[in-house]
Symmetry: D2
Subunit: 467 residues, 4 copies
């Protein structure tokens, strides 16, 4: 169940007809990573045009606007909700004119030394027109004395610490960089243009490739920069790869737990399969008797399937989700206390009445949503609710691009398992162990993950703290 604020989505398209339309569809397919604002920049080789506004992708853009965003290269961004009142300024891509011409930039992640850099830049006379970390980077690039953008980007990134998947658009080129820890996902794909030429796409998730008919090539590597050029000189476009930082992979394990779409390949592996395996591991770790396994839709579905398969307890889609949930107003009368969850979820009473139920969800943040879900299940007649969480307790906030609550609001950081179980009203409560989670992923390449939200061990170089 959605309790996390998703991260952002980024996309870059290079050397493709109607690049901004491809960005639009890519952002649409990654809408789950950010619903607050959306923006696209496009270049026609001479000039970068940008449009961004608040709202869902399909609301922000229409045919007229996309027709103004002309050219063969384009980048785009979806933003998750923030509190700021001047939110249009805080949406991306950020566009700027600077010493070498024009630049637009879309960023997924978080700079851990953003405050220090910002203060230092401000001391030197820089102005900041948004609350975005990303603005730092444009300043650093603008202040670099190197003659080529590629070198300026490298220079600037040496000063930045943090998590980032970055897509830069200049008037004729596109630059793509992933931080050396590979914290945030970014994949590279190939577009077959109608005229037979080849275009390229980079996107946070590979579901964007599927929608526009692009083929997955590989992930952008931790510490790698890809440079795309040639679209405006009619040369063949071949992305040039440079390893600008030594790779020390620590990809975000939570992408597998919650963020990514199950049909996406993230960090080289399909999300659905991994989530199913989490359910398998969960069943291996915690075997209990029950009448059925039901997922909290949609986040718990794959793990519930895995749990059912391993345990032999039947899987049932026992909670139905209303797909029309938009902006309803809520009339808080006495009989409608749980309306907020009820507007979205409804259990099948005939199925669960009198039964012992294993409910699978991806994680617990504050505990309030779990509490409400258990309540409506009990009201529908469930005899016992055993809540199984397909990840360990989340005990530490994320500083690498996920909008988590403060530690004081993370229920598992402040309460024992028994206390949490009692608060949410479950008859029993189980979490997948960190070992089980990592076993689910079983990655050759990715032996290490950033799992700070579960164990509090941050990357020392980034956050300057060990625990």
């Amino acid at each position: 169940m959605k309790e996390w604020n998703e991260e952002c989505a980024v996309v870059g398209i290079y050397n493709a007809h109607n690049a901004s339309v491809l960005s639009y569809y890519s952002l649409f397919s990654m809408q789950h990573r950010g619903q607050e604002a959306s923006g696209i920049s496009a270049s026609n080789g001479q000039k970068i045009s940008t449009y961004k506004n608040n709202g869902l992708v399909t609301k922000v853009f229409n045919k007229t606007i996309l027709e103004k965003l002309q050219g063969k290269s384009s980048i785009g961004h979806n933003r998750y909700s923030t509190a700021g009142e001047d939110s249009i300024n805080d949406s991306q891509p950020i566009f700027a004119k600077y010493g070498l011409g024009e630049i637009a930039l879309a960023h997924n992640g978080n700079f851990t030394n953003a405050k220090e850099i910002r203060e230092s830049l401000i001391q030197e006379g820089a102005i900041f027109q948004s609350h975005l970390d990303t603005e730092n980077l444009i300043h650093l690039i603008a202040k670099s004395h190197r003659n080529h953008l590629v070198d300026r980007i490298k220079d600037a990134l040496t000063k930045i610490r943090g998590a980032y998947a970055l897509v830069f658009l200049s008037r004729t080129k596109m630059f793509v960089v992933r931080d050396q820890y590979g914290l945030r996902p970014l994949s590279l794909g190939k577009i077959k243009n109608p005229d037979g030429s080849t275009g390229y796409i980079v996107a946070s998730e590979s579901c964007a490739f599927d929608l526009i008919g692009a083929d997955y090539i590989r992930d952008v590597l931790p510490g790698e920069m890809l440079v795309f050029e040639g679209a405006y000189t009619n040369n063949d476009v071949v992305p040039q790869s440079m390893q600008i930082f030594p790779p020390t992979p620590n990809p975000c394990i939570f992408e597998y737990v919650y963020f990514a779409r199950p049909d996406s390949k993230v960090f080289g592996k399909n999300v659905y399969e991994i989530r199913k395996q989490m359910g398998v591991e969960l069943a291996k770790e915690h075997k209990i008797q029950a009448d059925m396994v039901i997922p909290v839709p949609d986040s718990g579905v794959a793990a519930a399937l895995g749990y059912s398969r391993e345990s032999g307890i039947p899987f049932e889609l026992g909670i139905i989700r209303n797909h029309y949930v938009g902006r309803t107003f809520i009339e808080p009368t006495q009989s409608m206390r749980e309306l907020k969850v009820k507007l979205k979820l409804n259990p099948i009473a005939e199925l669960i009445s009198g039964k012992d139920i294993i409910v699978i969800d991806d994680s617990i943040v504050r505990g309030t949503t779990s509490k409400q879900i258990i309540k409506i299940l009990k009201q529908a007649g469930a005899k016992k609710i055993h809540l199984f969480i397909s990840s360990p307790p989340t005990i530490s906030p994320c500083f690498y691009g996920v909008d988590t609550p403060d530690k004081s609001d993370l229920i598992c950081a402040n309460h024992s398992l028994e206390e949490v179980r009692d608060f949410i009203g479950a008859d029993s409560l189980f979490f997948l162990s960190l070992e089980g989670l990592k076993k689910s992923i079983n990655s050759e390449e990715n032996k290490r993950f950033c799992q700070a939200c579960f164990d509090g061990h941050y990357i020392e170089e980034l956050t300057g703290r060990k625990d």
Copy 2:
């Protein structure tokens, strides 16, 4: 996959605080039965107020509008899409002033003799301001010489043939009727008011009860009329039941196949359980070897679970649905031919690549959507696609309230199973038999169903034709 135009939804609320707000939430929970227009009438005992407009429930209504729809009784309606340009006039409830005062009416169904009645009424000088069959009924009531509305409704209904679930609102009462065949569903529930008094709800599907916290009592019976009065005289409200037509139950079997929400109880039985059983029967009838069973979301999910359980072939949620599909514009470039389906559905390539897949959907109408789904599955690498349909071939249009295409457009009505299979590109194609479908329902009370869409046998008295 949605290929049918859903029927309408109706709701009636009696003797409840903020009745129009309860209608609003009920209509919201039944949004799947009609997305084109929505309307609510409410009475405060003196006067009926009505508001209706085009769009989804949450778009049509807001706090200001609902606050104007005052009173303890209310009815509401969701309409599915029609082609008419004057669609606001064609939305419901219909409101009229007539000889006994004021009346509002919401109808789910279809009057098979509507044309004859309309012509006859017009000959007598009546005017019709909409294209709705329902308008006939108001005229008949207005022209009746009986002194009480209850008698006028009975009189009028003796002249009407067809399928109907009707909710009438007068200034002080509410009348609810279901046709004698019980073709369209209508359930009765109880509302516990904050002050301890009892209110009532009738709705097309019981999912409406769940959202507003009402308790299911029973179905309105075929041929039964319920009269609600007393809300404005501070008497206890007890629905009075009259069997105004002899019941000859023939409920619409397609409600179980596609229309109803799985969490609803329809014709006294939970939809999800029946759909799961359809999958079981399908597996009993057609056993093949395959690597996995995947549903077309969301319509095929329950049947796929049943098929998997019976066959032992693993169930996988191999096609992911994008929940943000709204009004995108579609750029028909060469690489985007299948965009319409792709915007909504995306297969998990890693899961299905190289595999023999059993795909489960609820029905085939024109065959074009099935063709596109199979295409994207094959593009994602599926080796073989075996399409299993959890109902028999649909060979005849519905005249009882479902907006089906003409017989000439029903692919199974005009082509052999092999031809259909080849058209849609499946490696094999199987349908559940009619016997299997009825076995799934296994109803004591409902031994007979209207299954004309599958066998062409219409109810003779209604449609005047046997085949």
Copy 3:
């Protein structure tokens, strides 16, 4: 200053390419007669299509909607504000299917025996789906046993008493009728089609003709019916005139005072010229010393010009109107008490400071607006304000199509001139006499006017009361 709710506007277009587009522009030019809702019906010879909704003409219609309203004949309507919550139902044209086919009807005016007719129709079994008097007429036509629509309209109108300018659209013809008193205006014009053929327009005001390039022919006469046919048989279209009621002209004198646009010809005479003459007569009746004459914009402008010319006192546009007034929200802080008037009007302080000012307005209804205008003028430094009204005191409500307040709310009906003067805060207050008003019009043809709002003498046959 706007204190009256305007009446409605009607338009009919016959035998013209894109008739609905011409209706649209005509309604746009007559927007001042009704801002609440707008509707257009069009016929292509086979079928009448209707679209109506709440809002200004330019908001209700767009290209897509007008393209659906196809055909060579069309009628349209603007409605003024009403209180009803079901206002879309109460907008016009009303469309109905009836014994002879299809009909749409737009009406400006009021039926004084509407209640009796409605009750009698309801007794006979008719249903009413709106609060519109106009619905009566469709019923009467539908119930007539005559074979031709023209005869049915005549029959029906013999039963109707009241004020009306009516435009009927059938699938192939258009019928236009004005009541025998000629209370509401209706003019006939000629459209020169691009192919050389002739089309026709009828409209409440001739400003509609100017916008679409039509030529004024003459007024529709009191008691006259015009029948237009031939558009769909490729015959020449020549309106046939029938005098269906003996003319007893009593046109509404208030059209000249306030309603009509100054550039319109109404009842055969230009409104601007007459309003200017009212100012002349006002100056003849009431001569005082003052520094300048300023109008309340825009309603007092022409009379102020006339007053200035006759009196020799300089005319100044001393109050400036803000053209961007839309839906502002008003924050009622202490310093903003008069904000409602101030948002629209601002006096030129430098011009009026320390001066004796003659202010000209068209009428006084409740007196509250006059009071506020005088207040802001005094705040701007005016020494003395002499309010001159270019019509007599309004002492009686209108029953013939104007939405006036009750008599109890008409300040001049309940208070002496001195009391009114003191209430509004003017130093002196003068009204034009009824004789002066009629002298201003100086009409050969129209010797008599309906001036009931000024003298309380209603048309006896219509209202059944003499005073």
Copy 4:
């Protein structure tokens, strides 16, 4: 007639309850100076909040948004139309964080050395996120090494050449500056707070004062800076004046000709009175025989009154303006060629038919609008049209804040008076001489004006060219 793109409007409010609401009303009253976008920044002493978007003031803001813009100080801006696709970025106020904290800035005018400064700033590593000159100024302030904002602003302005009325908001103070030539208007007013304390307003036009009930004090002087502080320390707020540049007044004469609202005081004088005097001078310069004088509404009204008074030829409001002009779509059929002007203006045919008419307008830009107006007047039957322009021919573009067309598009810059007369179809054409125009203003204080649009003499220090 509107052919010029208006300039912008700025407002600043200091030490007033609900300062953002007062900004909102002020911007509403100055909507005529810019309709494309609107923005407001407000400070609560700790933090500056900003909201801006495209559209009219009443569309951009609502109660919820204004409630978020809290505090006792606020600035606002209306922008005229520009071509940029990223227009939200190009709207004002510009907000930035910088070395001394936070700043917001609204600007009316144009920096003539903006390009050089921008290039130099970019060379030094600055980034520009908008196309606004104003962004330069924030950079200069941010790069200054002075310790106080007041000194930084002074420093920055020494580098800026051009026309400006500037309002700066810091978290606790407000700074207001007008360029030394006083090219753009800016007035100071006093607000009486409900608690008896005094607040202040500066605005482009004094009509803003009238709406919110503020009292005009005086103009901000050329080269003057006003500093407002104390609102957040509960001290008395008294604006401190500093003459930061030696005044060499050259106010824009075109404000009197066209831009300002007639009810505003601009450069210390009321606009309406001056425009009326232009008509007087025009009549002194060019006496001809005619039947009447009519203005093009609303821009020619005051001059037409003056012309009439001096010449004795009657003034008539012979062209009526439609107040509902919004976004109509235009169907370019043959009979509707002049639709664009006709949608807005309609002559009174009865008044002008067969007459010799003097038409008064404020200026001629391209000549196309004048041509259309003359055409509709002739179509309405005017015998002769003598077009009188209440200003000299406009022969040079403005570089000081007005969005004029290129010199090549200014018809009077490229054609003789006879050619222009023939092109627009007038029977005669007269312009007010520059001497006549200046005589109309008859200003003691303002002996010199910027009249470059009429004589091509730019301010040498600003534009670096004499002719």
